[in-house]
């Protein structure tokens, strides 16, 4: 990790002093960052107790060494590869800590988010869309279950994935995703504006969502109830002038009301990756490969597409077959990735 004097000043200010965001911005305006450590007594308000200069220098070196030891890198506002889009938001983080493929910072980015409670069909669709989008964009998302997880699963094989954490890089929230986090670190990029070691707080999710929207050119909301964290991301995106896309949901489905509201208010309706890719002028790679289906599977798939989500017994009745025959065919469709189990013996087409 090569660090310029300016960046070193930045990182000392962020990592080794007890200042808040506003104070840091004021201090950085007051003097060139490169001189921050050396001339701290002159620059800091007189009330602030500062250690002597030699200690400050040692603090800065120790902080940088600790980052290096854990394999993290730091990107400051002054760094060359600080994401351009992020500079445009009202409160850009002064530094980002990252682990993994740093070059993804320069890639074009698109954000996919969703509520933790996401209907199974939306998860499948989100994973598919995420996979196709990751061919053109680095997919930006969080690390939660539901919509985030679907986006991760879609984009991970393409290794074009940025996951922004609501906690320091060496913590993991939710803890159950620790191994997933390591996978992302290997194949993609983990980012956080918090110092390593900081735990997730209630407000850090809000702050993290602002980064998701800030990093990306557009945001796709996979699922969101009326009060959902995914909507915070969408609102930030609107504030920052990003494009907002949303999956349409059934009327009355609680976990999709937020998405439908977004569409009502003018968000783009998206049902496939092409809706998003063509908006940005890319040609979507039409998937021509359709798995071979038996006559019974074709019949059930057609029924599923016609009814949306249906109960197994109803499908069997309409297709005129025994319930266990239908169940075998549906699990065949599920394995071929064309149907998904929605709980309670109900199925949906993808």
């Amino acid at each position: 990790m090569r660090i310029t004097e300016e960046e070193r000043g930045y990182l000392w200010l962020i990592g080794c002093t007890h200042t808040d965001y506003r104070a840091r911005v004021a201090l950085l305006r007051a003097a060139p960052p490169a001189e921050l450590i050396a001339r701290a007594e002159e620059i800091f308000p007189p009330a602030v107790a500062l250690p002597p200069r030699s200690v400050r220098e040692r603090e800065a070196d120790a902080f940088l060494a600790s980052l290096e030891k854990k394999g993290y890198f730091a990107v400051t506002l002054l760094s060359e590869d600080y994401p351009e889009a992020l500079k445009q938001i009202s409160t850009p983080p002064l530094a980002l800590f990252g682990a993994g493929r740093r070059e993804l910072l320069r890639a074009r980015k698109f954000c996919i988010v969703g509520s933790r409670i996401t209907p199974p069909w939306a998860e499948k669709l989100a994973a598919k869309v995420s996979g196709e989008i990751s061919a053109r964009f680095a997919v930006v998302t969080g690390l939660a279950e539901g919509g985030d997880l679907a986006a991760i699963e879609g984009a991970l094989p393409g290794k074009n994935l940025i996951s922004v954490l609501p906690c320091g890089l060496d913590s993991c929230y939710p803890a159950a995703h620790a191994s997933l986090k390591e996978k992302i670190r290997g194949a993609g990029l983990l980012l956080s504006e918090l110092l390593p070691g900081e735990e997730a707080k209630k407000y850090s999710f809000h702050a993290r969502n602002r980064l998701l929207a800030g990093l990306a050119e557009g945001v796709l909301v996979v699922s969101a109830a009326r009060r959902s964290g995914a909507l915070i991301t969408a609102n930030c995106a609107l504030d920052f002038g990003r494009d907002v896309f949303a999956f349409p949901h059934n009327v009355g489905s609680v976990h999709g009301e937020g998405c439908n509201d977004l569409i009502k208010k003018g968000a783009y309706l998206a049902t496939e990756a092409e809706d998003i890719l063509s908006y940005y002028g890319f040609e979507a790679q039409k998937e021509t490969h359709m798995p071979l289906l038996s006559a019974g599977e074709e019949k059930l798939l057609a029924l599923l597409r016609a009814t949306g989500e249906a109960h197994l017994a109803a499908l069997a009745e309409q297709a005129g077959m025994q319930v266990f025959e239908a169940s075998a065919l549906l699990s065949a469709l599920e394995l071929k990735g064309l149907a998904v189990k929605a709980g309670g013996n109900r199925y949906a087409a993808v």
Binding site: H311, A313, F324, S327, S331, L335, G337, G343, G344, N345
Partner: protein, 507 residues
């Protein structure tokens, strides 16, 4: 004079002959019992004294010594009363000319001289018959239980006087007539699959489970008929054979839970509450080792309602008996094996709020909550449950009216046919059902074609199944093929089998 009378003690399910030796000597009146009698046996002194007096006989005022031989095993319970009384009468020369040789006396005495029934009579009779005893005097209250034991003279006695009259030959008791075993004699037909509304998936799963001897987990919101379905399981299982019935009756007799009929004629259905302790589930006890719920469910169904509510340690204790079909309980008093070949049927809610997958109500649980709820059931236990089926809250009748629902009799016929196919197949393998297949049988009888193998590979990738789940799926597919009268396992059988393991992938 010394008198020797044969009685029996119980060690687990096995009867152990005990000789009651009584010596009546001249001397200061006293009454000593030796040979490891426990408190209940020692108390027999008072019962015997009163019973003798109230039956018009003498309690000798001499120096009395009673020995229970062999002296090294612990004697427990009140079943020795009758033997002690007879032995005492014989030793005090009140039974001159009576032939008590080779007769086994069993029974507890009440103060007025009545002979009261004892627990565990049938296993004692079976063991004693095996030891060459053919003449028994038993409590009249146990007659129903004993009448199924053929090839022995069994005399049920209601009072001590009847016993004395019988052995003196003055008033012989009529020997018990051997009864013919009739399966389901006491069946009240309270449950039948015909009464189960809707639930086509679960009905099918129940059928497969019984046909192949698989364990079953039903997942569904409260009030959707999970318990009802479980209660139907015994109604579609094959009828008990006499040997099976005796085996089950032995266990129930030892536990003292035998019903009116005296023999178990229906497959047991045990529903221990979720507060059950490991000991009550697996068996145990302080001195006497009692069979637990899993042994009482031997040959039948153990139904665990609300599976995640059971204590983890209790559930984990089920793992070994599920594999071995028996449970070995070790205590300071000894080590005893009870049979425990049961079918496990469990039910649970899909999530803490119970509405996951419901069509009408919305589930408010986060994935983390659902995961935590389902984590309460360990992977190894889940791996032993071959079939997992969702019981949903949609009434099938809402969708189709007029569809005739099959009754248990029809399903049972199909199940028995599938069982017959399995019996033929496993004639030499020494197992009975598909669920019991080991790796060797899997390789021999469950060859998958290339397509079937592909399906399984795809399901592992898509559904994140555990490697152990593979053989379970193949076993279920084998059963489905058997129900279909198909020699080979076809892709459709594999697909259906896979659809009963979806629960692993959610967790």
């Amino acid at each position: 004079m010394i008198a020797k009378i044969v009685c029996y003690a119980l060690n687990g399910l096995e009867g152990v002959p005990v000789e009651v030796e009584t010596d009546v000597n001249k001397g200061v009146p006293s009454y000593d019992m030796v040979g490891l009698p426990d408190a209940a046996v020692k108390e027999s002194k008072e019962r015997v004294r009163s019973a003798l007096k109230n039956s018009g006989m003498l309690f000798p005022m001499n120096r009395i010594t009673i020995n229970f031989a062999p002296a090294d095993i612990r004697k427990e319970g009140a079943a020795f009363d009758l033997a002690v009384a007879i032995s005492l009468l014989k030793a005090s020369e009140q039974l001159v000319g009576a032939d008590v040789k080779d007769t086994v006396f069993l029974g507890e005495l009440s103060l007025n001289g009545d002979v009261r029934p004892v627990a565990g009579l049938l296993p004692i009779l079976i063991s004693a018959k095996g030891h060459g005893f053919t003449r028994f005097i038993i409590p009249a209250g146990n007659a129903r239980e004993a009448r199924f034991l053929g090839g022995a003279e069994i005399f049920p006695a209601a009072t001590l006087n009847e016993v004395v009259g019988h052995i003196l030959g003055t008033a012989p008791i009529a020997p018990l007539e051997t009864a013919q075993f009739v399966p389901r004699a006491g069946s009240r037909a309270a449950t039948d699959l015909a009464y189960v509304k809707g639930q086509p998936m679960a009905r099918r799963a129940v059928e497969i489970a019984v046909a192949g001897g698989h364990n079953l987990l039903m997942v569904g919101p409260p009030g959707t008929g999970k318990t009802m379905l479980a209660r139907c399981l015994p109604t579609i299982m094959s009828d008990l054979t006499f040997e099976e019935a005796l085996e089950i009756t032995e266990i129930h007799s030892v536990a003292g839970v035998l019903g009116e009929e005296g023999i178990v004629t229906e497959r047991p259905f045990r529903t221990p509450h979720h507060t059950a302790t490991t000991v009550s589930m697996c068996g145990g006890g302080n001195k006497i080792i009692h069979p637990g719920e899993i042994s009482l469910a031997h040959g039948g169904v153990l139904f665990l309602d609300e599976l995640p509510e059971y204590k983890r340690s209790t559930l984990e204790a089920l793992r070994q008996p599920l594999e071995d079909g028996k449970i070995t309980v070790s205590r300071a008093g000894g080590t005893i094996s009870f049979p425990a070949r049961f079918m496990l049927c469990a039910s649970m809610n899909p999530c803490p709020c119970g509405n996951y997958g419901s069509s009408e109500r919305t589930c408010t649980c986060t994935p983390a909550e659902i995961r935590r709820y389902r984590k309460k059931i360990s992977g190894p236990l889940l791996d032993r449950i071959d079939l997992q089926v969702e019981v949903d809250d949609i009434g099938y009748d809402d969708l189709t009216s007029g569809e005739a629902r099959e009754n248990s009799e029809t399903v049972k016929a199909r199940v028995e046919e599938a069982r017959r196919i399995q019996a033929c197949r496993f004639e030499e393998a020494g197992i009975r059902t598909n669920a019991e297949m080991g790796e060797r049988e899997l390789a021999e009888y469950c060859a998958l074609d290339r397509e079937g193998d592909e399906i399984l590979r795809a399901s592992f990738e898509r559904m994140h199944l555990s490697a152990r789940a593979r053989s379970r799926i193949i076993k279920v597919a084998r059963t489905i093929a058997d129900l279909d009268h198909s020699e080979a396992i076809c892709p459709k059988h594999v697909f259906e089998a896979v659809s009963y393991r979806t629960y692993d992938s959610i967790g």
